[in-house]
């Protein structure tokens, strides 16, 4: 369980994180989604005691991070898989972690096995690791102390599709055992397949917070007909608001049942009728990204 309350960070005149509040519940995977530079990493550093917040507080398992005894045994943290000494081997890095946490030596070998860094790879220096291997090592390090909570910043970065599939399974089973997972990403589709709950941040402000189902369904229903004009008339008469997409489909603020009933009454032949699949979320996300991109150009 992670609780973030009104967390803020100001750098000079720039408000990097602005009164961010959300919760990550046990037994679920919470996706922390936002474009690059939206404040995800800063928020995660504040949650783990690395960056002092300008205001607000956060707790993990009901306790501020700095007051957790032996935090590695409660929270697995991966903030940057590349932030490791290139001269150490993967096994050595896990061994240092295991020593601080007071774990038995075999735990290191177990974790290397679990993340698929076979004996030989574990003994290579991380300077020779690919980004995907570093992510696997980072995840091994986060899981080392058998924590109840995971905080992972962009853990899918650099993983190949098989690696992403693997990680999804790993995090799902971690959550199914009652664990709390918070992971960030700047890619909607990457996080959509893993997360149960989404928290969207843009320019340091939370812009959406809800279960994945809620946020995706909020987008409405997509409908397509043989005669688009007839469909439009039908929707107008029925009093539903809608938007036209460039390929002739309509995204309507109504349920599938309502639209099916209306089109049947008006004799409109429907060729496609389905949930809009987060088109709204994607639009919102694209808008956030585009605004930030513009900002960078003018800066």
């Amino acid at each position: 369980m992670i609780t973030v309350e009104e967390l803020s960070k100001r750098y000079g005149a720039h408000q990097s994180v602005d009164r961010v509040s959300f919760q990550a519940q046990p037994g679920s995977v919470t996706g922390f989604l936002g474009p690059n530079g939206a404040g995800k990493s800063t928020t995660m550093r504040m949650m783990t005691g690395l960056t002092p917040p300008s205001a607000g507080r956060s707790t993990i398992l009901g306790v501020p991070y700095a007051e957790l005894p032996n935090p590695g045994r409660h929270v697995g943290v991966l903030l940057d898989a590349s932030a490791q000494h290139n001269g150490r081997t993967g096994r050595e890095i896990l061994r240092l972690g295991a020593t601080v946490m007071g774990l038995r030596r075999q735990r290191v070998d177990e974790m290397l096995q679990i993340v698929g860094l076979s004996g030989d790879e574990g003994d290579r220096r991380v300077g020779n690791y690919s980004l995907g291997m570093r992510q696997r090592l980072g995840i091994a390090h986060a899981l080392l102390g058998d924590p109840q909570v995971l905080i992972l910043d962009e853990p899918a970065n650099g993983l190949d599709p098989a690696g992403i599939h693997w990680m999804r399974g790993l995090l799902k089973s971690f959550a199914d055992r009652g664990g709390t997972v918070l992971l960030s990403s700047h890619l909607l589709h990457e996080i959509e397949v893993i997360a149960d709950h989404l928290v969207v941040i843009g320019r340091g402000v939370i812009v959406a917070d809800g279960s994945k189902a809620e946020l995706l369904n909020a987008a409405g229903t997509l409908v397509r007909a043989l005669d688009p004009d007839a469909l439009a008339r039908c929707l107008d008469v029925s009093g539903y608001t809608y938007q036209t997409s460039p390929d002739g489909a309509y995204v309507v603020d109504a349920t599938r049942e309502q639209i099916a009933t209306a089109t049947a009454q008006h004799g409109v032949v429907v060729t496609e009728l389905r949930g809009a699949d987060g088109a709204g979320l994607e639009d919102m996300f694209l808008q956030l990204t585009a605004e930030d991109a513009r900002e960078k150009v003018t800066a």
Partner: protein
Amino acid sequence: MSTATHQAPIQVSPDPSVTPVPFSRLLRVELRKLVDTRAGFWLLTAIGLITVAVIVVFLFVADPDQLTFVNFVGATATPQSILLPVLGILAVTAEWSQRTGLVTFTLEPSRIRIAVAKLVAVTLVGLLAVVVALGVAALSNLAGMAFMDGAGSWNVGAANVRDFFAVQLIGIVQGFAFGMLLMNTAAAIVLYYVIPIAWTVLFSMVGSLESAAPWLDVNTAMAPAFEQQTFQGGDWAHLAVSGTIWVLLPLALGLLRLLHREVKSA
């Protein structure tokens, strides 16, 4: 009426059986981090090899009547005093240059505990280096007597040994303090070596400053130890003042900086 029907809440408090990380484990990890990278390993190896090499060279080039234990020990003082502080610097700056601080300070959020563990670790390695130097010097003294017709005097006072330890420890703590204050390997190493040179230039150019030198420059204050003399009353006062300026002050400011600095990956 009863709470028996309430669902058991999912555990949202830390497992009470987990206790804080004891200092001994932090120290073990910091000691290990000094030797488990190529940079650390070769630095320590270099310190060891150079210590031995200097003593062997001394054995062959010095006059037989110079081949005494105290002179052998003295020969190791300069190379060790140059290299040991680098160990102190690297122990701190690697957390920033290699960004390992992200892991170090999430596993132990108390930065002061990490700093103390690092300081104790580099101090222990410094002591070990001096002990090795004493051992090699003793062996060489025996070899000098056996093969080089050396004087072989064991005449070394406890004060000599004490000063020898003091000088190396001051150096290593100074390096550590510079590393902590600057948090950058290159800057710390350059400043550590440039400041004494700058002082020497200044003192030789401005004659009136010469008497102030041992008060302002920790290297001048330590000079007696390198001339096989022991520190006397006035020397300790010099050490106390210059050491406060160049060791304790940077150490305090460095700790302050560490406590407030944001630990970032980029």
